[in-house]
């Protein structure tokens, strides 16, 4: 028993050291510095926050929209996960890759995509106005609650598809068939057999989606407009606009405690239900689409996923290839012409600016940071997931498990300032270090890696390992032939998340960036913040290139599953 604790401690060492230095230390520094600026004592800002009506309204809205968004995301994601888990069909890899692309897109770009599609002079409104001869655009989408919900579903469905879908694909379908043989109907099987078995993955995915929605910033600001504010938006406003650091710190702490509460609740729920399962090879779990009902379901589901997850991106790509002059006057009959001018212009440093980068080098910078993030997040996430999966009930694990999720629920504005005051002087002077960005990205990716790996690792039955050992396998062989085949697939899911999180991340990057080496999202934002057709067109063109690279990157990860490692 003692021995086991020591092993846990050893596994936790690297992840904890990382979190201590790069998360708790900067966060603690900024919170204590901020609160010490309060003239009425450190408790006053908390009292102010709790007593204020407007703060309460913000908290209510934050929780409410996050719950609603999470439910909608599950509503689309779970049937999608079922399709991907149980059926094998042509173009499935491409579909999976495409559904992951939204995750890498910066909010400002996604907003541009939605406005190209659904804006007052977007394609759908213009088409409806022409078709029915309407004087005004019939659909008001931007600056509504609907825009916030749709954007959250757009971003986060891939989490459910990947985390639940991959787990589901290894569940033995014979369990359900046995239940049917015993007289259960379709819904009883779903309710009594499938969902309970899937619940570790569903809870994990729902928790991540909820925390993402709960701390939503860009979507609320850009698509929701000035009538909506989440806690994260309020923290930004208090920090940047009013410089009320004590109140901002109190709100940050509030946001953190909500995240912690959610995570503890999750740990309770999932602690009760997770059990070792006999996972099956996908060869046995997946079938072809045979009956017309199956085909109809697949067709409808694929269409739904593509419409919700890819049309805004396609609208964006379409706009980057057409002259913009034609779009701005819907009454006029100037048809937009095709052009590659924006793409050509991206390759020219017309103003001879020092901070100019070619699109390829911006993508290169993004890919370099993303690779570093994948490596770092896996190195830290693997031992943590391992420790968590071997003994959930150990006191150490029960304390540490919820802590892992905290970085995801932390205000980026607050943590960014924390980095500046805590990590800018010797011995840890990272002000201008290129490591700062992958470190910041790893903080966000780390919980994803752990959550993707833990359900798979828990499902490894200790008996298998024991059997292998008894039969003479060395510990290394056990890992190679027992553990790796089972977690290989989850490992790829984890790597994909780390990769996409890093590529799409904008907030931390813009706060910590070296101007000579902008990532692709930062370069896009620079173009977007300037007036003029060529600037806007280039922003759209660079976004489209980023999108293409992300899709290809994810397809590559799909293919990367080496037969024996990814599959078993």
């Amino acid at each position: 028993m003692r021995n086991k604790h020591n092993v846990h401690l050893l596994l936790w060492l690297a992840p904890l050291a990382f979190l201590a230095v790069f998360y708790f230390y900067p966060l603690g520094s900024i919170l204590s510095l901020s609160l010490s600026r309060s003239e009425a004592g450190i408790l006053a800002p908390f009292v102010e926050a709790v007593a204020s009506d407007s703060v309460r309204r913000v908290i209510d809205f934050t929780i409410w929209q996050a719950l609603l968004s999470t439910l909608l995301t599950l509503l689309l994601g779970l049937p999608g996960a079922y399709l991907l888990a149980r059926y094998d069909f042509r173009g499935k890899g491409l579909l999976r890759a495409l559904t992951g692309v939204p995750f890498v897109m910066p909010t400002l770009v996604v907003a541009a995509g939605f406005s190209a599609l659904l804006g007052s002079h977007g394609w759908i409104n213009v088409a409806l106005m022409r078709l029915f001869d309407l004087p005004n655009p019939p659909i008001q989408f931007l600056n509504t609650l609907a825009a916030i919900l749709v954007a959250h579903v757009f971003y986060n469905t891939t989490i459910v598809l990947r985390m639940v879908g991959d787990f589901w694909s290894h569940l033995d379908p014979r369990l359900g068939k046995a239940a049917q043989t015993l007289g259960a109907n379709r819904w009883q099987v779903l309710h009594k057999v499938t969902l309970p078995l899937l619940s570790p993955a569903i809870y994990a995915a729902a928790l991540l989606v909820f925390i993402f929605d709960f701390t939503s910033f860009g979507v609320i600001l850009v698509l929701g407009g000035p009538h909506f504010a989440t806690l994260e938006v309020e923290i930004y406003y208090q920090t940047i606009s009013l410089f009320d650091l004590p109140l901002a710190a109190a709100l940050s702490a509030l946001q953190l405690s909500c995240t912690l509460g959610m995570t503890i609740l999750y740990a309770r729920l999932s602690g009760k239900i997770s059990l070792p399962l006999k996972l099956q090879s996908r060869k046995h779990t997946q079938g072809r689409l045979i009956t017309w009902r199956q085909r109809l379901f697949a067709l409808g589901m694929v269409a739904l996923l593509l419409i919700i997850l890819t049309t805004p991106l396609l609208a964006l790509a379409g706009r980057s290839l057409t002259t913009l002059g034609g779009i701005d006057s819907p009454e006029g009959s100037i048809a937009p012409g095709l052009t590659l001018a924006f793409y050509r212009e991206l390759g020219i440093n017309r103003q001879e600016s020092l901070f100019y980068v070619t699109p390829l080098s911006a993508i290169g910078v993004s890919l370099t940071y993303a690779s570093a993030t994948v490596i770092l997040a896996l190195i830290l996430g693997l031992p943590a997931a391992w420790a968590l999966s071997t003994d959930r009930k150990s006191p150490l694990n029960r304390i540490l498990d919820p802590l892992l999720m905290l970085p995801l629920g932390t205000s980026a504005v607050t943590l960014g300032l924390g980095f500046i005051i805590a990590l800018a002087h010797p011995p840890l002077d990272l002000r201008a270090s290129p490591l700062l960005i992958p470190i910041a990205h790893t903080l966000v990716a780390f919980p994803f890696v752990v959550r993707s790996l833990t359900p798979a690792m828990q499902s490894i039955q200790p008996r298998l390992r024991h059997a292998a050992t008894v039969l003479g396998a060395s510990p290394r062989q056990v890992i190679r032939h027992v553990d790796l085949p089972i977690v290989g697939r989850a490992l790829l899911v984890a790597a994909t998340f780390a990769f996409t999180i890093s590529i799409g991340e904008f907030g931390a990057t813009s706060l910590l960036s070296r101007p000579e080496f902008p990532t692709a999202p930062v370069a896009i934002y620079r173009l977007l913040s300037r007036p003029g057709a060529m600037n806007y067109g280039q922003a759209l063109a660079l976004s489209t290139i980023l999108m293409a690279f992300a899709a290809v990157g994810m397809l590559a990860i799909e293919r990367f599953r080496i037969a024996e490692v990814g599959e078993f």
């Binding site: 406005s115 009013l242 000579e516 977007l528 007036p531």
Partner: protein, 358 residues
């Protein structure tokens, strides 16, 4: 063991010296004297900072200084960082605080005074800090912009000043940015306060609400999503006085006239001035002074418009002719002192929010 290591060290040391000797010297001094290693200067900026390669190169060569830039987010984030790092500055120089944040920077004591000799060339209007802790570098006017074609097609006269926006013919035509989240949005709020006074500005905004004004959170959404020039439905937008000439310079096809124009009537624009200063406790004060002087000199000042989309405060800097021709010069831009802004900002934004968003 040891001899081998010593051999390696000597070998690489020799190789390195040989290579270093082979590279052509940067100065035409005698070859035997190796040029001194450049001194390092760190300059912290907001995320809109940009500079031409050759303008930086000429500074680095002239003084043998290597400049490292640190980007610190938008103006507000950058000022906050400088304030939090007070005493242990992150850099030697900080460029990018504007008059809406100036008081925060000065009250927090992040700058050391420096009376640059080049201040003599700069009009006094721009010098808002009499103690010379923050020195003006550039300015930009936040003004209403409108799409020229929209008004021509309808034979409608474009608005000339703020009061015009209340007329029924301009109902539903204006989009503005939220002052709580957007810097031009805040500047436009200040313009209305400067023009109508504290007693009258909320009535004006109430009138705008009744005239169906639209509010969005950021300039990008206002300009590229809602403004009719770029795919929106509203032909009047809060942007910059410089946006029309930039629409010409960055047009898809060469244009004869800018497709947009700025409203410059009395008090309808607000001037944002950006400052540079030496951070208190800067490790390289002497180098920092050279950089500040350089930023105020015509060489750097002439580089400003096409790099950063704002305009030089030094009248000796010559402007591109597109700007000479199309840059709107506001009549009597609205003015508020940085101290007033600092003292009242929160209340103003709260009152505005109550009036316009509730």
């Amino acid at each position: 063991m040891y001899p081998k290591i010593i051999f390696h060290i000597t070998f690489y040391a020799l190789l390195f010296t040989a290579l270093a000797a082979c590279t052509p010297p940067t100065t035409p001094e005698p070859v035997e004297v190796a040029p001194a290693a450049p001194q390092k200067l760190t300059v912290m900026t907001h995320d809109s900072f940009a500079i031409s390669e050759d303008v930086l190169a000429s500074f680095q060569q002239e003084y043998n200084i290597e400049v490292q830039f640190l980007e610190a987010g938008d103006t507000g984030s950058a000022v906050n960082k400088a304030a939090l790092a007070k005493g242990k500055p992150l850099a030697d120089v900080f460029y990018g605080v504007d008059n809406t944040f100036l008081s925060r920077a000065l009250d927090e004591g992040i700058f050391e005074a420096y009376q640059s000799p080049l201040l003599a060339e700069i009009p006094d209007d721009f010098e808002l800090d009499p103690q010379h802790r923050a020195l003006p570098v550039d300015y930009g006017d936040v003004c209403l912009n409108y799409e020229v074609a929209y008004f021509q097609e309808r034979n409608l006269a474009p608005p000339k000043n703020l009061e015009d926006l209340l007329k029924p013919e301009y109902a539903g035509l204006l989009v503005v940015e939220n002052p709580a989240t957007s810097s031009p949005g805040l500047a436009f709020l200040f313009a209305t306060i400067g023009y109508f006074g504290e007693a009258g500005y909320l009535d004006f905004w109430q009138g705008l609400v009744e005239n169906d004004v639209e509010v969005v959170n950021d300039w990008e959404t206002a300009y590229y999503t809602e403004f009719s020039q770029w795919g929106g439905a509203r032909p009047i937008v809060v942007s910059y006085g410089s946006s029309p000439p930039f629409e010409m310079i960055f047009a898809e096809q060469p244009l004869d006239e800018p497709p947009t124009a700025a409203v410059t009537g009395a008090g309808s624009c607000f001037r944002q001035i950006e400052f540079v200063g030496i951070l208190a406790g800067a490790p390289n004060r002497a180098l920092a002074e050279k950089w500040v002087d350089y930023m105020l000199s015509p060489t750097f000042q002439e580089d400003i418009p096409l790099q950063m989309y704002v305009f030089p405060v030094n009248p000796n800097a010559e402007l591109d002719e597109t700007f000479e021709k199309y840059l709107a010069i506001p009549e009597k831009p609205a003015f508020l002192t940085p101290a007033d802004i600092a003292a009242r900002r929160e209340q103003w934004i709260k009152d505005w929010t109550e009036t316009v968003l509730r």
